[in-house]
């Protein structure tokens, strides 16, 4: 019996979230007195999984699974879970993992709790804390099934080193036509940009920018910080920025280390989407903007003056600290 973790990779290399879910799985394994096994698809080596407590990697080598396929991945992971007799299976909260989580849950008859933010408060009964009401509250949730499926929120647990020898074994799941009912035709992904999901820092802007033509300075600020760009709902509704950048209750949730909000007043729906970010900075002309109540640091000022000045100061800071 072990804890099984699905470690996501891209072009053979593990994503940072893979190390976070591995760290978390090791935390659960220690509570249960067992080891962590991982499953991945077409990983080129075990990477640093051993550093984060993984003892065994089941590596699926199958060219048909180079691209994410929720049906086939869920079937393969469930077979690995059964082979390991895993009672707890850990996945991340990426778009892909959330996609396959519900399928995996049915395959395994495993109670599924997503958006989990901490180690179980109790292993028996198995009780985890998860965010609900779009981060406006938490629920302490009990899973009553024999197998449990836990989806960890990004940045909720962090990386914890637990050096372990990690062996790699090929794993060949038995897949069938039903696993490939959804066929990927094309992928349109901006590979040179930091995504909101992966970003440590997010620079977000709202109606205060007055028009899409003024986003150059937002992108420049993001570029200096190695950040992703995001926006408020009205901005995406008006077509100034793509839907994929909309942060909030009906858009994307953000759990970055630093969230910089420029010209966003801070509607309750927007604040719900960024509650999980650790440090929040607000730049706004209106000192009464509700966002200042949710922020750690604030600058009352005109974005068109503050942002260019901040870019120059950050460039100088980066040069001095390179």
């Amino acid at each position: 019996m072990s804890v099984l973790v699905y470690t996501e990779s891209e072009n053979g290399a593990f994503k940072k979230t893979a190390y976070e879910v591995a760290s978390y799985a090791k935390g659960i394994a220690d509570m249960l007195g067992t080891d962590v096994a991982a499953i991945s698809f077409n990983a080129t080596d075990a990477g640093e999984l051993g550093t984060y407590g993984v003892s065994k990697l089941h590596n699926v080598k199958e060219s048909k699974l180079d691209k994410f396929n929720a049906g086939a991945y869920a079937d393969a992971i469930s077979q690995a879970a059964k082979a390991e007799d895993a009672k707890v299976i850990v996945i991340s909260s990426s778009a892909d993992s959330k996609y396959l989580g519900s399928l995996l849950s049915v395959h395994l008859d495993a109670g599924y709790v997503s958006n989990v933010v901490a180690l179980p408060s109790s292993a028996d009964p198995f009780t985890v804390k998860r965010s609900v009401f779009t981060n406006k509250a938490f629920s302490n949730t009990q899973i009553s099934t024999d197998r449990k499926l836990v989806g960890l929120s990004k940045n909720a647990y962090g990386l914890k080193e637990n050096p372990t020898d990690c062996t790699v074994a090929d794993f060949a799941p038995s897949l069938n036509g039903d696993d490939f009912k959804v066929e990927v035709q094309s992928v349109d992904k901006a590979t040179d940009k930091v995504t909101i999901a992966d970003a440590e820092i997010v620079v977000s802007a709202g109606r205060g920018m007055k028009g899409p033509e003024n986003w150059g300075m937002i992108e420049e600020l993001a570029d200096v910080l190695g950040a992703a760009t995001a926006c408020s709902k009205p901005v995406s509704d008006m077509g100034w920025r793509p839907h994929g950048e909309h942060v909030g209750q009906t858009g994307k949730p953000v759990a970055s280390n630093l969230y910089i909000a420029i010209g966003i007043s801070g509607a309750i729906q927007h604040l719900a989407g960024i509650n999980s970010s650790k440090v929040k900075v607000v730049i706004n002309t209106d000192p009464e903007a509700p966002f200042f109540k949710a922020a750690d640091y604030g600058v009352v000022g005109d974005a068109f003056e503050v942002v260019p000045a901040l870019i120059e100061k950050l460039k100088a800071f980066k040069a001095a600290n390179a």
């Binding site: 519900s102 997503s114 609900v132 302490n140 009990q142 349109d188 200042f292 600058v299 000045a309």
Partner: protein, 248 residues
């Protein structure tokens, strides 16, 4: 084509969240309930299929009589008939089991659900319904076309989008982008009057078991005061972010 739209009855996005009974129950006092926003995009897309491709559109909710105004609103927007499964929606798995039973008995070609509800945010019901009914499943769907028994869908992925083909029967987890915000429909007086005459079928629960349960709720710790930095002293902000917050 027969479409079923799964509607979640959720607190309005502006709602303040409170709990009662020693933090074990959501406090509905003073809360306005609405169609879950992700489901509203799906319902509007279903209306497009009804008008352009002659589809029939049913809506379904799992819950007590209190969810009926939400179903009536969906009827006023244009759904043909509504189904309420008469049992509390206490767990994603149990809700999915109830919905899967409706799907199997109704012979639906396409099931549209929101990618998640804005109350419990589990994001598990659409995929579970697909797995339980043996249907294809596309999550975080931002565009959907149907031609015969084949669907072409685009879904949002981290950092971009992906276009997929899938055969019907199909379940999608939809979201903003499925239709534009400006295309969302508000029931007009004629729709509201017609909705009163449309069938709202109350179906007995299949008695699905639950897999999870809420022991208690908590609210986040109160936030401290904001530290304001003068716009002429941005070095101070950088210093705070570097040395105090360790964020850059």
């Amino acid at each position: 084509m027969k479409i079923l739209v799964c509607i979640s009855h959720v607190p309005d996005t502006t709602s303040k969240i409170n709990f009662t009974d020693d933090n074990t129950q959501f406090d509905t006092n003073g809360v306005q309930f609405v169609i879950n926003p992700n489901d509203e995009f799906g319902l509007t897309r279903a209306m497009w299929f009804k008008e352009k491709q002659n589809a029939s559109v049913d809506v379904v909710t799992v819950g007590g009589a209190e969810v009926e105004p939400t179903l009536r609103k969906a009827l006023a927007i244009g759904a043909d008939q509504a189904i309420r499964v008469d049992t509390p929606a206490v767990d994603g798995y149990a809700v999915a089991k109830e919905l899967a039973d409706v799907v199997k008995n109704g012979g639906y070609d396409l099931v549209i659900a929101g990618r998640e509800s804005i109350d419990y945010n589990g994001g598990m019901v659409p995929g579970m319904v697909a797995a339980m009914t043996g249907s294809s499943f596309v999550n975080t769907c931002i565009s959907l076309e149907i031609d015969g028994d084949t669907a072409t869908a685009t879904r949002e992925i981290d950092g971009g989008k992906e276009t997929v083909k899938a055969s019907l029967p199909l379940v999608i987890g939809g979201q903003k982008g499925l239709v534009e915000e400006s295309d969302l429909r508000i029931p007009n007086m004629r729709g509201i009057m017609m909705a009163r005459k449309k069938p709202l079928d109350v179906k007995a629960s299949v008695g699905a078991s639950t897999e999870t349960s809420t022991v208690s709720f908590e609210k986040p710790a109160p936030k401290g005061e904001v530290t304001l930095v003068d716009a002429d002293n941005l070095d101070k902000l950088i210093d705070l972010l570097h040395n105090e917050a360790k964020a850059i």
